[in-house]
């Protein structure tokens, strides 16, 4: 366990129970997931039962207990994107990447996720790879977009 890295994160907080979610967010950002050993330390330092830390870590969708891929592809399946084919877009990506929604490719390059709404409904269907938005993504545009990340 990289204790120094974890201490760096914890040192930014007063380590009150209310700091749990921001601390987990920082760990998720830094490690790309929430490693088990680190969660044990967090529980100890924030004076919380480990069960509560795990309940929070598993309740919210942004947290992952397994490492995510180098690129995270989020396909919007909000209402407008659903009507305009967001679900089919997600299925097409799933076929092309050979990975189920919510999982990571074997080479750890892509994690494929769906998200309830990215708030760019006027450009539906929308998807986001890392911090880049892609507007009006029809299935036929997928191969060209994926190429940039492979």
């Amino acid at each position: 366990m990289d204790l120094q890295r974890l201490e760096g994160i914890l040192s930014r907080y007063a380590c009150q129970p209310a700091d749990l979610i921001p601390v987990l967010q920082d760990i998720q950002d830094s490690y790309n997931y929430l490693p088990k050993d680190e969660l044990k330390v967090v529980a100890e330092r924030l004076h919380l039962p480990l069960a509560q830390v795990f309940s929070v870590a598993t309740f919210f969708t942004m947290f992952s207990l397994v490492p995510k891929g180098k690129h995270v592809c989020k396909v919007c399946v909000g209402t407008t994107c659903h009507l305009k084919g967001g679900q089919r877009l997600a299925e097409s990506l799933s076929n092309r990447l050979g990975v189920d929604i919510g999982y990571t490719t074997k080479d750890m390059n892509f994690t494929l996720e769906t998200v309830a709404c990215l708030g760019s409904c006027a450009q539906a269907p929308v998807m986001m790879i890392d911090d880049t938005y892609y507007a009006r993504v029809t299935v036929d545009k997928v191969p060209k977009i994926l190429k940039k990340y492979q």
């Binding site: 009150q16 129970p17 209310a18 700091d19 749990l20 979610i21 921001p22 987990l24 967010q25 924030l46 919380l48 509560q52 309940s55 929070v56 309740f59 919210f60 969708t61 942004m62 947290f63 399946v77 909000g78 209402t79 407008t80 994107c81 659903h82 009507l83 084919g85 089919r88 877009l89 299925e91 097409s92 076929n95 998200v115 309830a116 709404c117 990215l118 708030g119 760019s120 409904c121 006027a122 450009q123 539906a124 929308v126 911090d131 938005y133 892609y134 507007a135 029809t138 299935v139 036929d140």
Partner: protein, 617 residues
């Protein structure tokens, strides 16, 4: 930036900012709102900067990336001031022509302006465009002109005037009275009178007290809060300071969902600026009032838009709602009195105090005052954000501002209120939109999402979509919501895959009734609304699915048959490459054929085909 020490200092600073600005200054305002950003706002702004540099006018023309300009379907939008020329669908390739024709020669690039759909007349100026003409923007009014990262821009337009007014001319009691008189109701959907909420919190005994801004805009199809947080963050902050002063709080939280990273960045920058300037912190402008704000980021849970779940999340717990009473105004964050209002509500506050409650109350209907922002999306020609007085009819919004249904299709329904809302059929198009009228027809205002559907949208599928969304997002604490949703989705999945049975409709109505009566929080109580409203207005469509095993809108894939029209197939093989099960084959350079025994009816071939050769029956 200086530290503002007193009221006079603020006035003086504002005067200097304004004096340094030339009203005739040539400005290029590139929309960086939620709709235009994915279309390439950043690249476009960079292209303008480079071209203006190359043409030697970089110092003379002011370039800004602003918040949402409203008409997202025609993005990326660019506004040229002072002429107010509004360009649409601008790409990097158009930049040299705009610089040459408009910035250097004062002309208009006609091909980039909106053309009236009937007369085909060009509408070069913003106010020539019908979409903007009938709106009444209060909260959105600054979004297309200010740089969201500039406090000076906000100050120049009168920002933080309200702060000065409340601290030195009004008692907290008077502030609450003004908000009560204005008739402002919660814009997050509940519609609870804001002034009354503040009064209840002020009267609560325990100390300290808190204010919270609910920026957990989780309703799919709604993005007005994102646009306001990203486009005018200081308005939200100023509103919260007013609220804090009124109820006697010293600390505020802004809860933003993590899917909105830009909103977090802009709000944090605005908070830092306000602190540095002395507009947040101890003894603001040398008054006795101290107040500060921090951001709390959501972690991806729709239920956290519910106030008690949101509070639990800030406390570091899982976002499970708690039974009310006690209400947050009595026992909220950390068990202490808390006022929690939505982004749009807070952003309305400064102007209400500034212009007076009578001004605000003069707009809207008897019981719903002021304006409301709607995100108009789906099957309309003009999609984007509109802000209209409460009581504007659905017809005006959808057919006026929205420009009617795209592709000359038929209007079928408009879905309002997010997942817990309902679908409103054509017979209610003339309904004046306010909190109470929407409820009467089985929907809700919600946060203002308006998703327009045409005859290519299946109402059973829409109900199934919302129920599956809510099932995912139900926290699972109470049985009626957790199990009710599970049963509803099972039935809806059967109906949409051709396994529906005649008794299913009655069974669903029964489950809906139980959920509405017995669920713990607002999510569960309203979770059956999508099924109830579609059953009420579109029962025939359910019956077609159940009785005839047909989906009239051709959406429910298991009820469809996919074939390739040999006359239109160009043998490009795009569908063959897309098909996940290898069901499509045929001789080279000849029309392809779908093997119905292998086809899993995923519909990807339809999307892959660029020649509309894949037919659906």
């Amino acid at each position: 930036m200086p530290f503002i020490e007193s009221v006079d200092h603020l006035t003086e600073y504002r005067r200097r900012v304004r004096a340094a600005r030339d009203p005739q200054q040539l400005q290029v305002l590139v929309c960086g709102g939620p709709g235009c950003l994915p279309l390439g706002s950043e690249e476009l702004a960079a292209a303008f900067a480079a071209e203006m540099e190359a043409r030697g006018i970089a110092g003379k023309v002011l370039l800004k990336t602003t918040g949402c300009h409203g008409l997202c379907s025609h993005g990326v939008r660019v506004l040229i001031r002072p002429q107010e020329i509004s360009y649409q669908k601008v790409t990097v390739e158009d930049v040299p022509e705009i610089v040459e024709t408009t910035l250097l020669s004062g002309g208009v690039v006609e091909r980039l302006v909106y053309h009236h759909p009937e007369s085909q007349a060009p509408c070069p100026h913003k106010m020539d465009i019908p979409f903007y003409q009938t709106q009444n923007p209060l909260v959105l009014r600054k979004l297309d002109v200010i740089d969201p990262e500039s406090l000076d821009d906000y100050l120049a337009l009168g920002g933080y005037r309200t702060l000065r007014k409340i601290l030195f001319q009004m008692t907290p009691e008077q502030v609450i009275e003004a908000v009560e008189k204005s008739g402002l109701r919660g814009r997050g959907g509940g519609g609870f009178p804001t002034g009354r909420k503040w009064r209840l919190c002020r009267e609560a005994q325990a100390q300290p007290k808190f204010v919270i801004c609910n920026g957990d805009e989780g309703d799919p199809g709604a993005f007005m809060d994102r646009a306001v947080m990203e486009g005018d963050p200081h308005a939200v902050i100023e509103g919260m300071i007013v609220g804090g002063y009124a109820i006697g709080a010293m600390r505020g939280y802004i809860y933003v969902r993590h899917e909105y990273p830009l909103a977090v960045k802009r709000l944090q920058k605005a908070i830092d600026q306000a602190r540095e300037f002395g507009l947040l912190g101890t003894n603001i402008l040398r008054s006795n009032f101290s107040f500060d704000i921090q951001i709390s980021q959501g972690a991806g849970a729709f239920v956290c838009g519910e106030e008690t779940a949101l509070i639990a999340s800030i406390e570091g717990k899982i976002g499970e709602p708690n039974p009310r009473p006690p209400y947050p105004v009595q026992a909220g964050l950390f068990g202490l009195p808390t006022v929690i209002n939505n982004v749009e509500t807070w952003a309305n506050v400064p102007e209400i105090i500034n212009m007076g409650p009578e001004w605000f109350a003069a707009m809207g209907t008897d019981k719903s005052k002021g304006t409301k922002i709607f995100s108009l999306v789906g099957a309309v020609n003009n999609t984007g954000l509109v802000e209209v007085p409460m009581g504007t009819s659905l017809r005006q919004i959808i057919f006026g501002m929205g420009g009617g249904i795209a592709h000359n299709r038929e209007f079928k329904a408009v879905q309002t209120g997010g997942p817990s809302g309902g679908c409103i059929p054509p017979q209610y198009l003339d309904l004046p939109v306010d909190y109470d009228s929407l409820q009467q027809v089985g929907s809700i205002m919600g946060s203002g999402g308006m998703i327009v559907m045409d005859n290519h949208d299946c109402m059973v599928d829409v109900a199934r979509y919302f129920i599956s969304f809510l099932m995912e997002e139900s926290c699972g604490k109470c049985t009626p919501c957790r199990e009710g949703l599970k049963q509803l989705i099972t039935i809806l999945n059967e109906i949409t895959t051709g396994k529906g049975e005649a008794h299913h409709v009655d069974l669903m109505e029964d489950i809906c009734q139980t959920m509405a009566t017995a669920s713990l929080c607002g999510l569960g109580q309203s979770a059956a609304n999508p099924v109830r409203s579609t059953l009420k207005y579109f029962r025939e469509e359910y019956e077609r699915h159940i009785r005839d095993k047909k989906c009239p809108a051709k959406v429910c894939r298991q009820l469809l048959i996919y074939t390739i029209d040999p006359n239109e197939c160009t043998s490009c093989l795009a569908c063959v490459r897309e098909c996940p099960v290898g069901a499509i084959s045929g001789p080279k350079k000849e029309p392809q054929v779908i093997d119905q025994d292998i086809c899993v009816k995923c519909g990807l071939c339809v999307d892959a085909c660029q020649f509309d050769a894949v037919k659906v029956e």
